[in-house]
Symmetry: C2
Subunit: 145 residues, 2 copies
Amino acid sequence: MAELDKFDYRLLELLQDNSRLTGTELAEKVGLSSAACLRRVQRLRETGVIERDVAVVSPKVFGKRMTVIVLLTMERDRPDRYMLMREAFAKMPEVQQCHHVTGAHDFVLRVQVGDMEEYSAFVDRVFHEPYIKRYESLAVLGSLK
Amino acid sequence: MAELDKFDYRLLELLQDNSRLTGTELAEKVGLSSAACLRRVQRLRETGVIERDVAVVSPKVFGKRMTVIVLLTMERDRPDRYMLMREAFAKMPEVQQCHHVTGAHDFVLRVQVGDMEEYSAFVDRVFHEPYIKRYESLAVLGSLK
DNA sequence: AAATTCGTGCGAGATTTTCGCAAAAATTCT
DNA sequence: AGAATTTTTGCGAAAATCTCGCACGAATTT
């Protein structure tokens, strides 16, 4: 993909926040014609700059009202476990996100569950493994974005 | 909002994966008419079941190749700052996510930047405030989902 | 069993997107 | 610099998509 100019960046910024903006709405915000905006957006999609468009569904609807951030520390002598861990996490529906990080911890997970009981069961099932040294659970009170 | 039936769940499932499906496409996948599907989706949006629609932009192409998880701890005597913080974070394009959490830390941020230099500038600009007690930066090596 | 409510499919009208085209703007070449 | 080429623009028509009123059928209430 060729270089992106300021118009493309502005469009991405807008669509990242609300992908349902219409050509006319984009036009008045970026200062191009409706057609030009839509053509650019089309191109951004085709070239993979915009990977996909998704609807954000309220977690409440699915009865998943509780979010927990987990900081995971593994035993230092088990680096081989990292890949396996990632694959395992990928399959768990409770795990919304999983980042492998540097520093004092090894993984940061975002876990979505219905309630404390469900979270407790999740912890028992997943974190009580010999190669997991410790984990820290941060319950989410509120979120942005 | 009244109860959701199996059609609604199916629609949510589909739109969660691809929010650009047209009425006709939805129709053939769920077994209702195009109009019925669109009416339902409209309702799901109005009632907040679908909170928003967003474009997923490839971080690489966007030139934001570096992700950092930040654990933020505030001074205990400044709880009034929480709301202001959240609002401030909401406006920063680098901040992709912001969770207000319980426990040893107060906020967990996901920050997206181009490189270390940009991150450093971000830290200087945002975290060197008197009401911020400490912050811990975890560079992301890889992510899932 | 009638009345009410609710959601459906159909189809017209409105909105939005796509696309061809000529002109303007930017880029490359001589 | 100025000509040639490429890219992108705005316009407008055509295509696609969405919205909405309407009459009908199913489920619920009275």
